[in-house]
Amino acid sequence: MAVFPWHSRGRNYKAEFASCRLEAVPLEFGDYHPLKPITVTESKTKKVSRKGSTSSTSSSSSSSVVDPLSSVLDGTDPLSMFAATADPAATDSSRKRRDRDENSVVGSDFEPWASKRGEILTRYTTTEKLSINLFMGSEKGKGTATSAMSEKVRTRLEELDDFEEGSQKELLNLTQQDYVNRIEELNQSLKDAWASDQKVKALKIVIQCSKLLSDTSVIQFYPSKFVLITDILDTFGKLVHERISSLCVDHRSVLPDHFSPENVNDTAKETCLNWFFKIASIRELIPRFYVEASILKCNKFLSKTGISECLPRLTCMIRGIGDPLVSVYARAYLCRVGMEVAPHLKESLNKNFFDFLLTFKQIHGDTVQNQLVVQGVELPSYLPLYSPAMDWIFQCISYHAPEALLTEMMERCKKLGNNALLLNSVMSAFRAEFIATRSMDFIGMIKECDESGFPKHLLFRSLGLNLALADPPEGDRLQILNEAWKVITKLKNPQKREVNTVLADVIKHMTPDRAFEDSYPQLQSIIKKVIAHFHDFSVLFSVEKFLPFLDMFQKESVRVEVCKCIMEVFIKHQQEPTKDPVILNALLHVCKTMHDSVNALTLEDEKRMLAYLINGFIKMVSFGRDFEQQLSFYVEARSMFCNLEPVLVQLIHSVNRLAMETRKVMKGNHSRKTAAFVRACVAYCFITIPSLVGIFTRLNLYLHSGQVALANQCLSQADAFFKAAISLIPEVPKMINIDGKMRPSESFLLEFLCNFFSTLLIVPDHPEHGVLFLVRELLNVIQDYTWEDNSDDKIRIYTCVLHLLSAMSQETYLYHIDKVDSNDSLYGGDTKFLAENNKLCETVMAQILEHLKTLAKDEALKRQSSLGLSFFNSILAHGDLRNNRLNQLSVNLWHLAQRHGCADTRTMVKTLEYIKKRSKHPDMGHLTELALRLPLQTRT
């Protein structure tokens, strides 16, 4: 068979492009166009849209001054509570001693006031200005009746009253620290007055101080004020008691610890009585109460039953205190003094509690509410002010209390509406075991609580603290956790501090004896809740205990599950790319955990899932303009995730993207530095690709990376990529696994090669290699590749090569890469180059024709026909038909296509029509002639 020479048609791509384009017709203003926006011009519409926007400003004004959450973490330290209850009190050897402990002395398992004191002071603070108002002078203006006293009596009374001349002091604008200092000064002056035998002055100081407790301005500070002032009262009580004891001993004997009133001499009794009489005449209720309570112990000097009579009376007296906060603190003080002096007198403790319940409704009364409005304090920050006092009262009550009592109290609490506050104190004071066994009950109660009052999360916190100490019934656990988290997750302001504490607590209790091994589902649930709640991962990972918490998941499968959850949430919620080192470190750790779980037995789906998650993370990492950092991150990631192919692929894409970003930033003109950087990127890809398994993945990545390298003017690198791709082609197996099914690979290869060719067009020849060395090499590879016997793909590829070569022989190529000189400008239409090109074409054409010949058998006629037609079309499109031999070849092909009646007549007709149409173009006149030589076979 004769060898046909190839003559490519000269193309003017610009003109062709222009002629193919639709003609642009300028649109007149009024003309219809489907994409033109519909504008209904109606002048009235403006007015309507104004409404509704006026009242929108008021909604945002209700932000609370005090963050209700900030108090969550304070309160009892779970450790000390733990220590307190765990203390084995039963080790006392002598029974007698223990009996006494239970009855008259509070055991060591009772958390002392001293430990609460500090907490309250640090927790209830204020930045507002405080004032101390001391009326040390006699209340001259008060009673008009006093003026009726005889001169003598009056002066005597005034001597009692005035310890400083006209000493009405009002100290305003004190900061909290000033206030504390002042109170300390008062405490000192009380001691001084006492030491210098000015008992009346001492009493007056105490009275004035306790008067401060009736003042509830700056209410947030009240619990702390209570602590400070009761310190003074304690001092006073101690001084009085010491003084009277000293009167009892007549320099010889020492008063025994458990003396009876008969042993007390008359002088001591009289002095003691005097104190009580003096105190009984204090006009105001609150000072009278506090001062009397402070010397409660002195009742022992008078009679055996003194205290037991006094306590109930004082308890009742508190009923007269109108402000519920003031009154509950008064109760707390009484309980405290009562526990110190007579812990066996439980009755009045209970009475205090029940009385409190009766007054509970006052909190929601007008008086309190008005006060809160005036002070700008909201209910959720007001209610926790009760906690220290209530906790204390409850602690006193529940100390060694029988179960029945606790149950009764719980029932009583239940009966009250909005009992969140009570619940909270019940939970913080009662025995953990008691709470734990009823935890579902408690959850029920918590759920019923009114959200507006006491913050629910505080309730759950208290519950949680109990559960940390004692185990709830096995079956309820998960439910408890779920319920609790429902609320916790509702918190508007996630406070990492709280979460941290919770986690820390859980860790603390799960670590001993590897207890966590038994409760993975619970722990997992905790994590899920935490992450569902924290969408800001920088916050999440700055929660100190989060990673240690993760470390508890030591069983790999669970651990990976947890990691997956975290990543899912991250992918879902992370909006902005991040470079936060905290997030990166933590997530790398998480991803590494996932990655490391991959082994030979891992299912494909699982791998894909993991890879998807890791990719999601990689995509969200951005160091912005710090490209080098970004690259080194990718390097690190590669070393970490080498077992997951999709991750590597993602990394390669990312690096390519990085290179292109760099190019974009430099606007195509690389500096020395960026050029080096880009080469580094290219190198990254080059060495990463071979580690992949999927052959087409590799091929495509080679091609893609080569294109990127080319775009960044890394010519030799691009060559390397292309060469690598070419040398890889022989390895393409006949069948490949696509989604679990074996499929012939040829179509994929065809696809890839076509893509490859279009890239090769613009790849400039290497100066040291021959002309078109890449194309030649590729052709060799194609030639040697073992194609399917009955497939025409090889020929299709050759046809494509033909297209490529004709495109290459053009004076100016169809497309270029900015700043890369392709062969058109390199050779500048050099005849040698064109000859070389044509030679290649001839070889290819020979191959094609050879193949067409082999198809002259019956079963292949159809293939021959279509292949012939496609070759005809190629010649028509790319060949120069003015060349006689090529013209003749095309006519032959036309006939070949129709010879056995296999051709689709419609296609043939269309083709002919196309030729006729083309012939009308100016320099296509020769096609007319051709068309005449192409007969249409009629169906016979």
């Binding site: 009746a145 009585l273 209720l285 009923r319």
Partner: protein, 270 residues
């Protein structure tokens, strides 16, 4: 330095009743020995009318007609003239308290008009229940302006033992206005009189707050008041003078209402 002389009575509470024996020591201390003309101890008790600055004029008419009434007067000679050694010398003494003639020994008492001494009485409990509403009040100028309220309460007894506190309960059932304070005002009413007429004077001798602020409704607040030792005595009625006591329950409402309920008391000593 000079010499000091002090009388110490044995009983710490210094309360003695008629017929009892008052005992104690006279303490004389000095650095040097002291010459003396003898030591004698006189016990003297009298009822004396004093003129109050408040009621000058009212009393002048009959002031002079009431002379101090002597109710006890006895003298004992403790030491004959001689010399006390340097240092502390204690001379014990005791003498019985006998009322002079057929007079009654009243309880010691310092009032505006009257200063008195002891007596005895019998106590029969006499509880009082009370209800205070705007309708029960007297001396109201504009009843309509008063906020509505209902306060109930009771005193366990208006016959009180002077050494025992006044007790009772008070309960605010409802009140439109917020409560500022509830106080117990102990008032002493002294009446002096003779054929020409009489003078009456009421004095607050103690004021005890039993409720501070807007107390819880329907929760009883205890009424509890210890009688001041110095300013109270058993209720006394003689031909020349009367000493009586009353207690006022004072309720202060927001913004500025003062409600008072008065209860006469009868104090006695058992």
């Amino acid at each position: 330095m000079g010499t000091s002389l002090d009388i110490k009575i044995k009983r710490a509470n210094k309360v003695y009743h008629a017929g009892e024996v008052l005992s104690g020591v006279v303490v004389i201390s000095g650095k040097d020995s002291i010459q003396h003309q003898g030591v004698s101890l006189t016990v003297e008790g009298s009822v004396n009318l004093q003129l109050s600055a408040k009621s000058v004029g009212v009393f002048e008419a009959f002031y002079n007609s009431v002379k101090p009434i002597q109710i006890i007067n006895s003298t004992i000679e403790m030491v004959k003239p001689g010399k006390f050694p340097s240092g502390k010398t204690e001379i014990p003494f005791e003498f019985p308290l006998h009322v002079k003639g057929n007079k009654v020994l009243y309880e010691t008492y310092h009032g505006v008009f009257v200063n008195i001494q002891p007596q005895k009485g019998k106590l029969t409990p006499s509880p009082v229940d009370f209800t205070i509403t705007p309708e029960t009040l007297q001396n109201v100028r504009e009843r309509a302006l008063l906020p509505k309220f209902l306060i109930r309460g009771h005193l366990n007894s208006t016959n009180c033992v002077i050494t025992q506190p006044l007790t009772g309960e008070l309960l605010v059932e409802s009140s439109e206005a917020a409560i500022r304070s509830i106080e117990l005002q102990l008032v002493r009413v002294e009446t002096c009189g003779c054929a020409e007429g009489y003078a009456r004077d009421a004095t607050e001798i103690q004021n005890i707050q039993i409720a501070d602020g807007d107390v819880c409704r329907s929760l009883s607040v205890p009424i509890y008041m210890v009688f001041p030792r110095l300013f109270t005595c058993p209720t006394l009625e003689t031909t020349n003078f009367k000493v009586e006591f009353e207690v006022n329950v004072v309720v202060l409402l927001h913004p500025d209402h003062l409600i008072t309920e008065n209860f006469p008391l009868k104090l006695c000593r058992t």
